[in-house]
């Protein structure tokens, strides 16, 4: 009989009956059990009722398409809303990605919120090595002694002869510097006092896309577009699926991006319009949701673009991380990424018809007397920028174009890279420490709880803090990477040339700056960025 009842899924009923009959047998707490069960039944009833209502609301919101905003339209609060961080007002009703993983290096020497004109800089350079995908020796269009206007073509790659690389400033070509195997590394221009730009006749933004592309190629604005996967210079023959712009930098000692667009809001919007004309897909803007206050109006009030807010620790501001969360890249689609400086350059070009590579750069790091932002042009000379700003000179310091994780080392003779908005000066850590591994007396950034950060913000050095070893610790890269990617396994796949593994584990989604934090955290001191680039090169050759 009981079996039969259970078979007909009256199981719970039977259990209830049995419990009730037992409760009557056991006098004293029998009533308590009975009332308790009754109470639970009533609660369950109301729960089901509200659940139905909640579901109906969600279905309705789906029907009208309102669920795409990411706002919670159900009746019940989400777990994160109850226990997560409170959202500042400007983030309410916004599409927010709240990333949990990552690490902000607690470094001293952040650039102050003021912009100074960099008057001392006279030399600027365009560096072919800044662009991935070019051949080592490009075809030069100028010679030493020629005078150029800003926007005049300087060189092009022999295999991609439509893409012109142009002078960032007007002036005289004073040096064409060659590196290993006669490759060209720098074309140096001594800038005029009065900057002159080449004149352009602008195409119609709403017209033919091909016409626009041809104009951008010829005008020299094209190199601001980079293509994922591989982070190479964009292919003019490919229409991108979407275009992504990150409007903040979460890296250590990064520039304040609200200063980058200060006074140039119109140009930024125009630049976004240009990007919109370049793709049939969407232009996504990654916005800074980390602060209590909304990001600059130029970003927050931008039109014609999909805005996505991001909150979390570094590398949340990396456009690669944002793409991963918005709409990942696979091997088939191509997307483009543009920096804020690139958007501004495009905007100025279409707004005023001139090539203006003016940009704001953060000078940061503890060796600097007053870390601050300066306004200069693309490819400014490092030594001239830092002249008189470092007490005791540059000896014993390392100059980095970019941030301390993914930037490139530069000598005082060097120049800032094409895509960077930051120059970091860092103390060299070439002094041995007695039992430094056992007793880390001097503060150093670390994700390990065994090196607690008592200093708050600290001065870091370039010391490796240990020697290179084989991969030992597992799951540490994954604990700082806010992406659904098994980084260590991917690195191993790259090292053994496992194509299927690389593709499946997401190599297309990564570029060097995305794994830089994992490389920082690596206990075995492995060169992850270098390994990743090898893998990307192999994959690019294959495709």
């Amino acid at each position: 009989m009981i079996n039969h009842l259970i078979k007909r899924s009256y199981g719970p009923l039977v259990v209830l009956t049995v419990l009730l009959s037992q409760s009557q047998a056991a006098t004293g707490w029998g009533n308590f059990l009975l009332y308790g069960l009754g109470g639970i039944a009533v609660l369950l009833f109301f729960f089901f009722l509200t659940s139905v209502a909640d579901n109906l609301l969600v279905i309705e919101s789906k029907a009208v398409g309102a669920d795409k905003t990411g706002a919670n339209l159900g009746l019940f609060p989400r777990f994160r809303e109850l226990f997560g961080r409170r959202k500042p007002d400007y983030l309410l009703e916004k599409h927010l990605y709240d990333l949990k993983k990552g690490y902000d290096l607690p470094l001293e020497g952040e650039a102050a919120d003021e912009i100074e004109e960099a008057a001392k800089v006279t030399r600027y350079a365009i560096q072919p090595t800044n662009f991935i995908g070019l051949q080592p020796i490009p075809k030069m269009l100028v010679a030493v002694g020629d005078s150029v206007k800003a926007g005049d073509p300087i060189f092009f790659d022999k295999k991609m002869d439509r893409i012109k690389f142009v002078a960032p400033v007007s002036g005289e070509i004073i040096e064409i510097k060659r590196g290993a195997k006669r490759s060209i590394v720098e074309v140096v221009i001594l800038a005029d006092k009065e900057q002159v730009s080449r004149k352009y006749s602008l195409p119609d933004l709403d017209g033919d896309r091909q016409e626009l592309v041809d104009f951008l190629l010829e005008s020299g604005a094209w190199p601001v577009l980079r293509q994922r996967p591989y982070n190479v210079i964009a292919d003019p023959d490919v229409a991108p699926r979407d275009i992504f712009v990150s409007t903040f930098d979460s890296g250590p000692l990064a520039a304040d991006f609200s200063l980058l667009v200060k006074g140039r809001e119109e140009a930024f919007q125009k630049g976004l319009d240009v990007l919109n004309s370049l793709t049939d897909g969407l232009v996504y803007l990654g916005l800074d949701g980390r602060d209590e206050e909304a990001p600059a109006d130029a970003y927050a009030e931008a039109e014609g673009v999909e805005k996505r807010y991001f909150r979390g620790k570094h590398p949340v501001g990396n456009v690669g991380v944002q793409i991963h969360h918005i709409h990942p890249v696979n091997g088939v689609d191509k997307v483009w990424t543009v920096g804020v400086n690139g958007v501004l350059l495009l905007g100025e070009l279409f707004l005023k018809g001139h090539y203006n590579s003016s940009r704001v750069i953060a000078l940061s790091g503890t060796p600097l007397d007053e870390p601050k932002h300066v306004r200069t042009y693309l490819g400014a000379n490092v030594g001239e920028l830092l002249d008189g700003r470092v007490e005791g000179g540059l000896a014993g310091n390392r100059i980095i174009s970019g941030n301390v994780l993914s930037g490139n080392q530069r000598s005082a003779d060097g120049f800032i890279d094409f895509f960077d908005s930051q120059l970091t000066v860092l103390l060299e850590g070439d002094k041995p420490e007695l039992f430094g591994w056992l007793l880390p007396l001097k503060a150093r950034p670390s994700i390990s709880p065994t090196i607690p950060n008592l200093a708050g913000k600290m001065e870091a050095t370039t010391n490796t803090h240990g020697e290179k070893r084989a991969f030992v610790v597992t799951n540490d890269y994954e604990s700082v990477m806010p992406m659904d990617i098994y980084t260590q396994q991917l690195m191993k796949a790259i090292m053994v040339n496992d194509f299927e593994g690389m593709e499946g584990l997401g190599i297309y989604e990564l570029v060097e700056e995305d794994v830089a934090l994992a490389e920082f955290a690596c206990v075995s001191k492995q060169p992850l960025q270098q390994i990743l680039r090898q893998g990307l090169d192999v994959m690019r050759e294959q495709s």
């Binding site: 918005i326 696979n330 070439d430 709880p449 597992t474 799951n475 206990v523 992850l528």
Partner: protein
């Protein structure tokens, strides 16, 4: 720094590879080199492999202290002497040191020696992996292990278990457990049986035991202790106390269930670790302190440990469920059923489960690499290990075998986690493509931004 200058001055020539490797190992032990980053990141995390490994060694120190004392304590209790915990403390510690120091030294001389030779031949720096293996191996050996066998086991583990695969970070199996499993199969008499777990008790035939004859080293200690007016070792060859067998709680449990265990040891003795066993694995509170230390510092992955505890409870309940109900167990019930009927929380304090899951299972190289894999790995180690312990008729403990088994399967577990990740990512991309289509359609229709709750 004067000291640093001195060390730089005595740096040997690179032509003698072995000498230079050895120098380098000691130099980098003493100093964190002033090496700077080249290419890639410019700032590196303060954590390196040396620091990581030394944290595990630190966590083991309590086990070493307690193990040293417990060797002596068990030795004297077996003879019916100094039965109080602090009674004859100096004798117990002296005895423990005499036993443990040779084991420690032999382990390190053999293990590190092989590491140094391999490092010199391959031309790389000496890796730190053996710091932990070398600290673990003495703790999982019986106190009376013959040193020659120990040396053979360590050599086997380091050469075939590690260097053959390419050194630290490349091994498939846990090196310390390989050393133990080598002894387990090659010299079973030294690690199986009742009398091996208490030091210095010799079988003089027909199950009669007497303590060892104290030799020269003990004489030195005796002269010191005698001068201080303390009790001394004496001559030795004392007959074992009445009813003493030296059996571990697990052996007792396997032969007669919980009744049999409690007849010899109290629960608090088992919890605090005042029982015979491998040198370092008996004291549960000290292991738990180490466990918490390693989990809080994130040296060991907490997922493996928590997964293991869950697996242990699950398997314990499962085995309890298979056993006959408590009121039906009599003296005539087969021993295996009596063993199965022991509740899981008593199972946990009897053997070396906590030690194994804290220090052996969490070895990052031989464990699974993925977060999800670690849960599965820890759970299965505990589940299978308890099955081996209880249902295996020959030997009432299973962690060594179950961890080595799961070491073998760790890459397979990871493989499926990675495959799942690939599938999930592919699915997500497809899903996002659909969202994109909808966004574009709504953008074209409205000409403005996507729908928000306000304009919906």
């Amino acid at each position: 720094m004067k000291l640093h200058d001195f060390f730089k001055r005595i740096e040997p020539d690179k032509s003698n590879k072995f000498l230079h490797t050895t120098y380098d190992a000691f130099y980098t032990f003493l100093f964190q080199p002033g090496e700077v980053t080249h290419g890639g990141v410019h700032v590196r995390d303060g954590m390196d492999l040396k620091r990581l490994m030394v944290q595990v060694v630190l966590a083991l120190q309590l086990c070493y202290l307690f193990g040293t004392w417990n060797i002596g304590h068990q030795h004297f209790v077996a003879q019916g002497l100094h039965e109080g915990l602090l009674e004859g403390l100096h004798l117990k510690i002296a005895y423990g040191l005499i036993k443990i120091i040779p084991i420690f030294v032999v382990t390190h001389v053999v293990g590190l020696g092989i590491e140094f030779i391999y490092a010199a031949n391959k031309g790389h720096a000496v890796e730190e992996g053996f710091l932990v293996s070398g600290a673990l191996i003495p703790l999982i050996m019986p106190p009376d292990i013959p040193l020659v066998w120990l040396a053979a086991a360590v050599a086997f583990a380091v050469v075939l278990g590690k260097e053959a695969f390419g050194g630290t970070g490349m091994n498939i199996w846990n090196v310390a457990l390989l050393a133990r499993v080598f002894i387990f199969f090659a010299y079973p008499t030294s690690i199986i049986g009742d009398e091996v777990w208490v030091a210095g008790m010799e079988n003089i035939g027909s199950g009669v035991f007497q303590s060892q004859e104290y030799g020269f080293v003990y004489g030195i200690f005796d002269s010191i202790f005698g001068a201080a007016g303390w009790s001394t070792f004496g001559e030795g060859t004392v007959m074992a106390a009445d009813g003493w067998t030296g059996a571990t709680p697990l052996r007792l449990a396997a032969t007669g269930g919980w009744e049999n265990v409690t007849a010899n040891y109290s629960v608090s003795q088992m919890w605090w670790g005042v029982i015979p066993g491998s040198i370092g694995e008996t004291s549960k509170p000290l292991i738990i302190i180490g466990m918490i230390f390693l989990m809080v510092t994130k040296i060991a992955d907490w997922r493996i440990i928590v997964g293991g505890l869950l697996g242990f409870v699950a398997c314990g309940l499962f085995i309890n469920g298979l056993a006959p109900p408590a009121n039906e167990i009599t003296e005539n019930t087969p021993a295996i059923f009596q063993f199965m009927a022991i509740p899981w929380y008593y199972q946990m304090i009897m053997g070396s489960f906590l030690f194994a899951i804290t220090y052996m299972a969490t070895d990052p190289v031989s464990a699974t690499s993925t977060a999800r894999g670690k849960w599965i790995y820890g759970f299965l180690i505990a589940f299978i290990g308890l099955i081996i312990r209880v249902l295996n008729p020959a030997y009432p403990e299973g962690w060594m075998l179950s961890i080595l088994l799961l070491n073998t399967f760790a890459p397979l577990i990871d493989h499926y986690v990675y495959a799942g990740n690939m599938k999930r990512r592919l699915k997500r991309t497809t899903q996002m493509a659909k969202v994109r289509e909808e966004l574009i359609t709504s953008k074209q229709q409205t000409g403005s931004e996507i729908l928000s709750p306000q304009n919906a």
